[in-house]
Symmetry: C2
Subunit: 467 residues, 2 copies
């Protein structure tokens, strides 16, 4: 019986080797769409665990759950990589209103930005200065800012096709807005949510005080886009309207956490590593389904789909679930540090951290020569409507692994809906479509298969795709 | 003052003519994303009017509303084209259960298929035969079918990337299932909903009795995918489970309705027509936002966006809002009939009837020579992530306009979520994303602009794109 099974295994392996790359991709996509696990895992992560802010109990539950699930896959190794992470807690729900006169108040939706300090006990009320950004703030200067709440209201640019570009053009207000306003004597900061849609959800996200001493730090919060419009309108009618907000968030001491790692060890080049990953932590307002539960479960499924498709990798393939991308990047830093110490050759690192929407392709951080090789694979993806192969940034978590010769990449899903949900209470499971998630997992697996098969050496006759 | 305005107009026109095509497309997309009207129109159509089944009061409201809105745009002509349409009404809500024994019943979610007859007064209860399709039904033959309810349960094929293909592979069960089962003596038909997702929504849609006399017709309904799974499982456990359903739908006499048409008359070739359209009627369960409110408002916005972008068409551009696509195609038939009578040369007809999701491209029904010309325009669309230019079907409403020389096309949005909503109670406004809808309108406008500029004559030096 054992011999029979061995024979079957050999026949099966030969069969896979004889497949063209196009056939292997077909097997991968079919397996993901008919027998994928990513959606089931995401259901658990989102609905049984929920938001997974670094240092929280939920983050630790997510570590335990994903480790356990990876252990069920029969990988060669699964382990936890310890890393200390910051622990910021939101505290009691925030409260805010616009005051147009004595007793005349309009409640608005805000949330503290991640890393912000609390308002003074009982809240903070002050006049408001609306600005379109840090440049305008600096022009206004201390005379106009001192003692006031600064309201950053530059919206995301609607006519940019790729919404991440619009985000990049606005996020400085959220990240550095409080620091810059504090330097000019502001008492608080309110930032228009990074959201292209008009709705009632405030969107949190990381911010920094830079080198500001504790005594100079001021509280900052995001306001929903609808309420940003309301506040702006009220200010246009009367410069003297006041804004009140109250939040009780704080930064605690760092706590122990982990990156979760699983590996299929390579059969021919075990010291060449290919990794796929997403970040296990999320913000606390929603359940982090798109950011980045999707990337986590897709990355886990890449290793499973390789196995299910009968692919035996030549190189070592790892899934890395990074801890603390949102407010510290400690997991990614630690992973790269350890990889360097061990002299591990990470030839290709792929990140999925742009939502679980229909995949459109990848952006690649690599040399022109290697990119030409990668572009030669593009026709293989056409049946799956994957068309976007561009040189560009990859992702925050794989970034620290960059060398002169290796390749980093980021999955690029359709981005139109992403910022409707990003860092907000409506980043929840029901907004993820099963097929779109599975198509993403398949697309990542297909790319990993090709990198495993052909490596990153410049193109030659010996590594033409099999068609 | 008048002379000054004229001068301004001339300068503006010259300015537009001097633009490269790439610049014109940029203007179109920016206008749609920052100053589009499609989402506002859809909000009204969906939330103030709602489902618009042919012959219903809502359908007439939609005719009046869209005509009024088109009249506000300053087009050269806006008119109603009369057409008689069928009027099928659902009646009281359907009710159904699975009976596993005396008093042991499980309620399930069904809806009558469009065009079905009612069950007998008090409902219909019978044993069930599950089949995977019409072929299996025929194999089973009258002996196994007579007196029973036929349950068509072939699911949509999950591993097809384009969901419309999966729909095409299943919809015969819904359309012809009752007719074929009736021929073998079945008393009723239940069809698994055309939905790739497991959920509780039954999805309606058209069906036919062909030439069957009234006395031979049997009622047919769709069952939700979750309940189809339940019924199938129960049948596997016990072949003798019974199914009960009750529905009171009926077909009334035809009523008067209209296609709604608006036109910008061409400045150079007024007798060459380019049309864009969607269908104004919808099913009655949801509000028809994706099917086809999206196509209606996008088509309306094409004419508006041309005007807003300062484009003065050489050819006549029409928006046609077709009545009765869902259960008769009477509007499309009428439009094509009148066009033929009048000898109107419809060189290009574009339909949007695949949902308001992120546009990916178009499929074109045309000769290879013209397709080569169209393909030469593809690079212009790359900045907008439009990559899908393929020869293939166009759409039901523009189909009757086909000639040997002209071009038909269908907008091809991302199709992954479409059948989650198609013909079901959850085809509603909140499932349409504003940007995705606007990108679709812009993409249609861009293509119309190019057809207006270069016509459909085979490519020559004189009609190279301006870059």
């Amino acid at each position: 019986m054992k011999r029979f099974l061995l024979l079957l295994l050999i026949l099966f392996t030969i069969n896979i080797s004889a497949q063209t790359d196009a056939e292997t991709l077909k097997t991968i996509y079919t397996t993901s769409l008919t027998n994928g696990k990513s959606y089931e895992w995401l259901d658990y992560l989102s609905n049984q665990i929920g938001g997974r802010l670094s240092g929280s109990l939920n983050a630790e539950k997510a570590v335990a759950y994903t480790k356990e699930e990876l252990e069920k896959l029969g990988l060669d190794k699964v382990w936890l990589q310890p890393v200390m992470v910051p622990k910021w807690v939101r505290g009691a729900p925030e409260y805010a209103y616009i005051e147009t006169g004595p007793g005349k108040t309009t409640t608005v939706n805000i949330c503290a930005l991640g890393g912000s300090i609390a308002t003074p006990y009982g809240g903070l009320k002050a006049n408001v200065v609306e600005v379109q950004g840090i440049e305008e703030l600096k022009k206004l200067g201390e005379a106009n800012i001192k003692g006031k709440i600064v309201f950053y209201n530059r919206p995301m640019q609607a006519d940019l096709i790729q919404t991440f570009e619009a985000y990049g053009g606005c996020v400085d207000q959220r990240y550095a807005g409080a620091m810059e306003a504090a330097k000019l004597g502001a008492v608080g900061v309110i930032v228009r949510s990074m959201n292209l849609r008009l709705d009632d959800f405030p969107h949190t996200g990381s911010m920094t005080y830079g080198d500001l001493p504790n005594s100079k730090r001021i509280p900052s919060a995001a306001i929903s886009t609808n309420d940003a419009e309301t506040l702006s309108t009220m200010l246009a009618l009367d410069k003297n309207v006041k804004f009140f907000f109250s939040q009780s968030c704080r930064q605690l001491a760092d706590v122990q956490s982990y990156n979760v790692i699983g590996e299929i060890t390579g059969s021919q080049y075990p010291n060449e590593y290919i990794i796929v990953g997403g970040h296990l932590d999320s913000w606390d307002l929603g359940d982090g389904s798109h950011d980045d539960g999707a990337g986590v479960v897709q990355s886990m499924d890449v290793l499973r789909l390789l196995k299910e498709s009968g692919i035996k990798p030549k190189r070592s393939i790892r899934v890395v679930l990074f801890m603390n991308e949102e407010n510290g990047l400690r997991g990614a830093t630690k992973y790269a540090e350890v990889a360097k110490q061990k002299g591990e050759n990470h030839i290709f690192s792929l990140e999925s951290d742009a939502g679980g929407f229909t995949p459109r392709g990848f952006s690649f951080d690599c040399s022109d020569a290697v990119f030409s090789k990668i572009e030669s694979w593009k026709p293989l993806f056409k049946p799956y409507l994957i068309h976007y192969f561009e040189q560009g940034g990859s992702g925050a978590d794989v970034g620290p692994l960059k060398t002169e010769t290796n390749v980093l990449a980021g999955l690029r899903p359709d981005s139109q809906r992403y910022f409707d949900h990003h860092h907000a209470a409506n980043d929840t499971f029901e907004h993820v479509n099963k097929r779109e998630l599975e198509l993403g997992a398949a697309t990542m697996t297909a790319l990993v298969y090709l990198f495993d098969t052909y490596g990153i050496a410049p193109i030659s006759n010996s590594n033409q795709i099999k068609d």
